[in-house]
């Protein structure tokens, strides 16, 4: 057992990865994962998310840099370091002919834990796999297989859990229940690092978010700060009548029409002193444009993400 009181669960210093074919998947990367947090790694396809995870878990050789897991170097103290980690890989790779029970017990053994039928029973029940325990994995549906992978990762009671796109190919209902389970795990003190393409997932679950693109970690931020800092708001006017003419004044203020002219949208920066909202309202009055309703909405992480990725 490691001391999970330590603030940093994983410390990554100067991690670089160049694959044997010469492809540089990770530029020097620094990242500290705090103990007990849910960290979401966001990035487009090929950004290097899986590579980063595999480097920590010992599945790929690192080209340069140091990684410590609760203070244990992953190369020199790999036993201690790896014992704390559970990994749910992106690909659904399972031993098709094994039963659910056997494959989960196998994982527990691999990580050096004595058999514990009670614990595995609890894990399988929590993942709604108990009635499938004697089935061969090949007979399960994709979503069930994904849960088997999670059960395997949890089988040795890890303090850190990597979820590499846990909800890819999982239906909405199951996704929500997975989110609940992730929160439950965190409340038990498990540190969780997940990668996802679904921004809503990061928004829903993460305490902190890292955005990675083309092998570069572009930003790491508290989710709330991030939303606030980069957050833009949209002011939406629902009009009585569709706007047919173009108003130069509005265009100059960067007010766009939408919904076939039935809406006007003004995007503004929440952090600016003069965000221009008053001016837009004045302008609409002057032009006698009447609206039924007006609302504001916060930009989602998705838009933040897209704008970050496009900037490069």
């Amino acid at each position: 057992m490691v001391n999970t009181e330590t603030k940093t669960a994983i410390s990554i210093k100067g991690l670089e990865k160049v694959y044997p074919d010469g492809f540089r998947a990770l530029h020097p990367t620094h990242l500290d994962i705090r103990s007990g947090e849910i960290f979401a790694l966001l990035g487009p396809n090929g950004a290097g998310k899986t590579t980063l995870i595999n480097a920590v878990c010992g599945i790929v050789n690192v080209t340069a840099g140091d990684i410590e897991v609760y203070g244990n170097n992953i190369t020199t103290q790999y036993r201690k370091a790896r014992s704390c980690i559970g990994l749910v890989p992106q690909e659904l790779t399972t031993d098709a002919f094994e039963t659910v029970w056997n494959t989960v017990s196998f994982s527990r053994g691999l990580f050096g834990k004595p058999a514990n039928a009670g614990f595995i029973e609890t894990t399988l029940k929590r993942l709604s796999l108990w009635d499938k325990k004697d089935q061969q994995i090949r007979m399960l549906s994709g979503g069930m297989k994904r849960r088997v992978m999670i059960a395997k990762a949890l089988s040795h009671e890890p303090q850190i859990l990597f979820l590499d796109e846990p909800t890819a190919g999982v239906d909405v209902e199951l996704r929500k229940s997975m989110w609940d389970q992730v929160h439950e795990l965190r409340s038990m003190g498990v540190t969780i690092i997940l990668t996802t393409h679904y921004i809503e997932e990061a928004e829903e679950m993460a305490d902190r978010v890292g955005v990675i693109n083309k092998g570069e970690l572009m930003l790491v931020e508290d989710k709330k700060t991030l939303m606030k800092k980069l957050g833009k708001k949209e002011l939406v006017f629902d009009l009585h009548q569709p706007l047919t003419d173009e108003h130069e004044e509005l265009t100059a203020m960067k007010v766009h029409s939408a919904a076939d002219g039935l809406q006007l949208i003004y995007t503004y920066d929440t952090l600016k002193e003069n965000n221009g909202v008053a001016d837009v309202l004045d302008c609409l009055n002057r032009l006698h444009i009447r609206y039924r309703d007006l609302s504001t909405r916060q930009t989602s992480l998705e838009e933040i993400f897209v704008s970050l990725v496009n900037k490069k």
Binding site: C57, I59, T93, D95, F97, R108, G109, L110, G112
Partner: protein
């Protein structure tokens, strides 16, 4: 030492053996019976004793070795190749295991299966020819060492292979010819001198010779040389495996 992990892999691999128990055992037993019918009875009856040993009995150690070599290589190579192919190897690579533990699990299981099959063939053979084993302890020692050594070789092949063809290539092109020419069915003393010399380059000669000695106290090469060679191959295989894990060759990118 992560014993739970070694046991987990061992059990997993043995479970695969039990699942395919029928074919694992039926085919070597069947081919042994065929060999006895053809070489032992049909042709063997016309062959005079070799070194004072009835020909049917003479080929027993060679036949066992033949199967044990082939089984060790194919079991162990498949055992590690398949998880690589299916992708499930990720779990073993991310587990808190040293390479020695990984090898113990996979090679131990493959060797166990070979030993079991070897003993089954021995039992089958005893129905056809009267057998007497002069040095049972040495017999078991050779059986175990050979199984382990060639399972290690198979393990290396399973890591090296990047396709199912390659997986079958080595056993077919290397192991089988070496085993056949290693004196399974004859004593290398029966060969012309030049071929005797060439035969000494064949590692299998030493295995079969030592193994046969444990049965009949008759051997082509000295016992100590046989043992020395087996141990040498074992150490060489182990060193190669250590290198594979150190560099991550074909296992870790």
């Amino acid at each position: 030492m992560n014993f739970y992990a070694v046991a987990a892999i061992y059990k997993f691999e043995m479970a695969r053996t039990y699942r395919t128990l029928g074919q694992s055992i039926a085919s070597p037993v069947l081919s042994t019976v065929l060999y006895f019918v053809v070489f032992g009875s049909a042709i063997g009856s016309r062959i005079s004793d070799i070194d004072g040993i009835n020909y049917g009995a003479f080929i027993v150690p060679g036949l066992i070795m033949l199967t044990v070599l082939a089984q060790s290589v194919s079991n162990a190579s498949f055992g590690i190749y398949f998880p690589r192919f299916a992708g499930t190897i990720y779990e073993v690579l991310s587990a808190p295991m040293s390479f020695i533990e990984i090898v113990m699990g996979y090679v131990g299981a493959a060797a166990s299966k070979s030993i079991i099959i070897g003993l089954i063939i021995l039992a089958t053979a005893s129905f056809f020819v009267p057998l007497e084993i002069r040095h049972p302890v040495w017999m078991i020692t050779f059986l175990v060492l050979t199984s382990v050594t060639f399972s290690l070789l198979g393990f290396i092949i399973g890591i090296w292979a990047d396709g199912f063809e390659k997986l079958q290539l080595i056993p077919l092109l290397v192991i089988t010819p070496l085993a056949f020419l290693g004196g399974s069915f004859y004593s290398i003393n029966m060969l012309p001198p030049i071929w005797q010399k060439i035969s000494l380059a064949n590692p299998v000669v030493y295995l079969i010779s030592g193994f046969r000695w444990s049965f009949f106290e008759q051997s082509d090469v000295r016992l100590s040389v046989s043992i020395g060679m087996v141990l040498f191959f074992l150490v060489a295989g182990f060193a190669l495996t250590a290198w594979i894990f150190k560099t991550g060759y074909r296992l870790r990118n």
